[in-house]
Every structure is written in structure tokens, then in C-alpha cells.
Symmetry: C2
Subunit: 298 residues, 2 copies
């Protein structure tokens, strides 16, 4: 169950993140205006901000400063936004609707969307490499490295490549899981890890437990997405529903069945809870967030 | 005039860079293979490697280690390669030939090329954020920042956006210059600056002089490109010649005339030389490279 105090915390973070993004994105009146407008269009006022929420909840665990966590969260959200802009393009998923709005290439043209994604990725690395108060440079360099590793060929982009190659192919469940571990899981894990790197140093064993939590959450997020995609209609979801099934893409629902996929999401939550049990009350935000991710209906 | 000893140095760097890229790029037999093959296809065996040469020549000036310079050079070359892959795509310049080979999207499909460019950009940041021997973390973090700033909306991607918006538009000479300062100039400046950051600390005034040199070189590189594009045929250049003129894109030749553009390149070389005069013999590589950039015929 999601607590009311959690909802307040979440809304607060979402609002502060919006201000941080507003501030970090180039102004829409600065040249080249079309690019800057498209970068803002693709990033602002959209989504649940799950990754920044994970950054902040993990940062809570280690007493990290809120300003640092918001900047890191904004950077990760830009990586996420860039991946959506490129994934929606005609040569990829050819989606015309995202977060209830026309996709970036519909609004700004294909060349514009290509550049927008490129520039959002770059800006993410610029943000993570600007000095963070109270974080030493070596740790920050490790943050850049962790984010790059999670986003690139061995992470998100690699998962996207596997996804691309899997259209019309009968993936096994382990293959599907591997694809999602990279495609969505890697950036979700990076969110937890970067948040945790921004505060008091953790023992390797603590980092490992957080990583196990994050890995379960990454998978759970995707399983729930597949379940929702199967049951929701276009209006509720704000994107074209049933798209994956229509594209003959394998999903947890198509491979496991609906009921089993729902049960699997619950199992992943329990595994995630077990991983961070030892942290005590300071891990409450992470647990609340896990509840939110698994119990959400949109 | 380009010296024989310089040609030997250049060939040596080009070969070592190739090995560094070979080593840093993911293996073509590792999954996802298609992505990794495309990343290698787009980066290996291609181009003059002007940016890594600038990294190494600037690094010579400050006694930086060759291994560090090669890794930085490889990272910058990956940013350059990613920009070419995306620029060649049908929604941008729609080029089918690059460095004498089919462009990436011709060989790997549009979605493949999109992901390849994305993953090359990410890998560049991963490479620059891996610890460099003898370089402190704060300096290295500044390198990441400098590279990101030069590649993003206020640098290369911004220049590309201006270029995109300028097709069929009558740009003035200052507007053309501003576009190129971002589109090609920013990454060339970053090459010199990152090379210089890898060795003994420089006074601000020294960094400024190097930056002035790099700024002139960035412009000269583009002016010479336009001159060559005008006079060369497709076979010599390894890319489709006269493309910019055919696309109604403004060039230095179309705005200044052929003879004046050639003269302007000479002027920029002299200005570049003057900027680094005070460094003495340790700047010889940079001067040789300036000669090479201005006097090249391909």
C-alpha cells in the first residue's frame, strides 16, 4: 500500500525536479531556438519521474543533499527522455503519441528529433560532471562512468538493439529478461547507485544489496508496464496501448500469461524488500517507491 | 610546408589510435553483435583523425602521457564518428557514401545507425571518465565537462541545428562563421584543450592562447573543406562532392568566392601561429598540424 506521506514526498520531488529541469535546460528564447524548444518539449511536464524518485530515495538512505540529488535526477531523466525521443522515431517504433502529446519528431520533424535526443544525452553528462557540493571529484567521476556504462552499448542502448533484433522472433523468458535488464533495468539501477554515491560512503556489501533492490525494481517496472499495456486503453496510458503486441514484440504477458505476470511483479517486490531489509527505517522511501511502482495503474 | 618527420609522427599516432579504438570498442562477436559491428564499422579505418592528432600535439606541449592522450583522442573521435553517422541519415543529409564506404544506415539500417550513433556518444563519455594515470580526478571531471559542453546544444549539436535551419536561407558571413564555430569548431577546440589538460598545469593565459589557436584551426578546417568540396571530385574525397552547393547550403566559397576563401585559410593559419608563438619549440607539432590542415588536398 502507498502511504499518504509518501504521496506528499513524491509530489514534492516531482515539483522540485521540474524546477531543476527548467533551470538546467537551455532557454527556449536562446539560439538555436528550435533545438532548445524541442529539448524542453521532450523533457518538461512529462512522466512519473520514476528514475529521479529512485535517485532521491536512495540518496535519503545516505543523507545526500537534496540539491545534488535533484541535479543527478535531472541528468538521468534527460537520458531517459533522449531514449524516448529516439525510440519513437519512424525508423524505430514509429510512435506518434507520448505522454499524451505528439511525439518529438511529429512536433519538430525527424532531423529535429534526432538532434534533440543527441543534445539531451550530452547535457546529461554535462550536468553530472559539474561539481556537486560535498562530493569528491573521484566519486563524481565514478558517477559519470556508472551513468555512461548504464546508458550505452552494455546497457540501455544495447537493450534497445536486442529489442530491435527481436521483433517477430520467439524470445525465451530468460532472453526477454536479459533484454529488459539492459533496456530499462540498467538506467533504473544507475538511478539507485548514483543516488547512493551522493552521500555517506557505503560498504561494498551495502551497495550490492541496493543494486539487488534496483535490479528487481527495473524488472518489476517492465513487468507492470506489460501488464498495464495489455489492460489499459490509449486514453489512460497517454501512449498507444497494445503497441508491443501489435508489433509482434514479446512481452511478459505474452510469454507468462496475464495472471502469472502479475504474480511475478509481486514476487519481485518481495525480493526487492528483502534486499534492503538490513537498512532499517532509512530505506522506507525506497520501499514506498517499490510499492508505488508495483501497485500503479498508469 | 609539411615536414617529413611530421608525416612519420602523424602516421605513428594514426596507427596507435587505431589500436586504441580497436581495444576500446566492444568486440564484434559480443552480443548485441549487430550494434557492436556497426559501432566498429563507423569508427575504425576511417578519416584523417585530425581531432586525435590535435589532442596528441597539444598533449606534447605539456608532457602528457601518450596512453592518456590516445584514450582521450579515441573518445573525441567517437563523438566525431557518432555525429557523422547521424548527419548522414536520410532525415539529415541523406548521404550514402562516407570515407569511401556505404554510410552506416545503408549498411545497418536506419534504426541501427540511430542506435550506433547514440552508443558511440555514450562510450566517449565512458572513456573520458575512466581514471587516467597521473591526472587528478578534478581535472578529469573538467575534461568530461569540456567535452560535453563542446558536443552539446551549445557546441556541435547546436551548430548542426543552425545548419539544419539554414538550408535555403541566405546566411551572412558572420552567421556562417558562428555556425561553423559550433558545428566543427567546438570539438576541435575541445581536442586541443583536453590534450592540454592531460599534462603539466597551464596558466589561464596559456590556455587562452591555445584556445585561440584551436579556434582558428577549427575555422580553417571548415574553410579548406569548402574549398576542397568545390574543386574535388567524388573519387578523391571519398564522399559525395559538391553536396553542400547542391543542397543550397551556404559555404565559404559561395559567400567569399574561391580565391578569397583560399586566402582566408592562409590568414587563419598565420593567426593560429601567432597565438602559440610564445610556447617555443614545444609547439612545433601543433604548427605542423596547422600546416597539414591548411595545405591538405583531401
Amino acid at each position: 500500500m502507498v502511504h499518504e506521506s509518501f504521496m506528499g514526498w513524491m509530489t514534492g520531488i516531482q515539483q522540485q525536479l521540474e524546477s531543476t529541469l527548467e533551470h538546467c535546460l537551455p532557454g527556449s528564447q536562446i539560439e538555436p531556438r528550435q533545438l532548445h524548444q524541442a529539448m524542453r518539449y521532450a523533457t518538461l511536464e512529462g512522466g512519473k519521474r520514476v528514475r529521479p524518485l529512485l535517485v532521491c530515495a536512495a540518496g535519503d538512505l545516505v543523507g545526500a543533499s537534496s540539491a545534488n540529488l535533484l541535479r543527478i535526477g535531472a541528468a538521468i531523466e534527460m537520458i531517459h527522455a533522449y531514449s524516448l525521443v529516439h525510440d519513437d522515431m519512424p525508423c524505430m517504433d514509429n510512435d506518434v503519441l507520448r505522454r499524451g502529446k505528439p511525439t518529438c519528431h511529429v512536433a519538430f520533424g525527424e532531423a529535429g528529433a534526432l538532434l534533440t535526443g543527441d543534445a539531451l544525452q550530452t547535457l546529461a553528462f554535462e550536468l553530472v560532471s559539474r561539481p556537486l557540493d560535498g562530493v569528491d571529484a573521484a566519486t563524481q567521476l565514478a558517477m559519470v562512468r556508472t551513468l555512461a556504462h548504464a546508458s550505452g552499448h552494455a546497457g540501455m542502448a544495447g537493450g534497445q538493439a536486442i529489442d530491435l533484433a527481436s521483433v517477430g522472433v520467439a524470445l525465451s523468458l530468460p532472453e526477454l529478461e536479459y533484454m529488459h535488464l539492459l533496456k530499462t533495468g540498467a538506467l533504473i539501477r544507475a538511478s539507485v547507485l548514483l543516488g547512493a554515491m551522493a552521500g555517506r560512503p557505503l560498504a561494498d556489501e551495502e551497495t550490492e544489496r541496493l543494486d539487488r533492490f534496483a535490479k528487481c525494481m527495473g524488472l518489476a517496472f517492465q513487468v507492470v508496464d506489460d501488464v498495464l499495456d495489455c489492460e489499459a486503453d490509449t486514453a489512460t496510458l497517454g501512449k498507444t496501448a497494445g503497441k508491443d503486441a501489435a508489433n509482434d514484440k514479446p512481452t511478459y504477458v505474452s510469454l507468462m500469461g496475464f495472471a502469472e505476470a502479475k504474480r511475478f511483479a509481486q514476487e519481485l517486490r518481495e525480493e526487492a524488500f528483502a534486499a534492503i531489509e538490513g537498512f532499517g527505517p532509512s530505506a522506507q522511501r525506497l520501499k514506498d517507491l517499490a510499492d508505488y511502482i508495483v501497485d500503479r495503474s498508469f
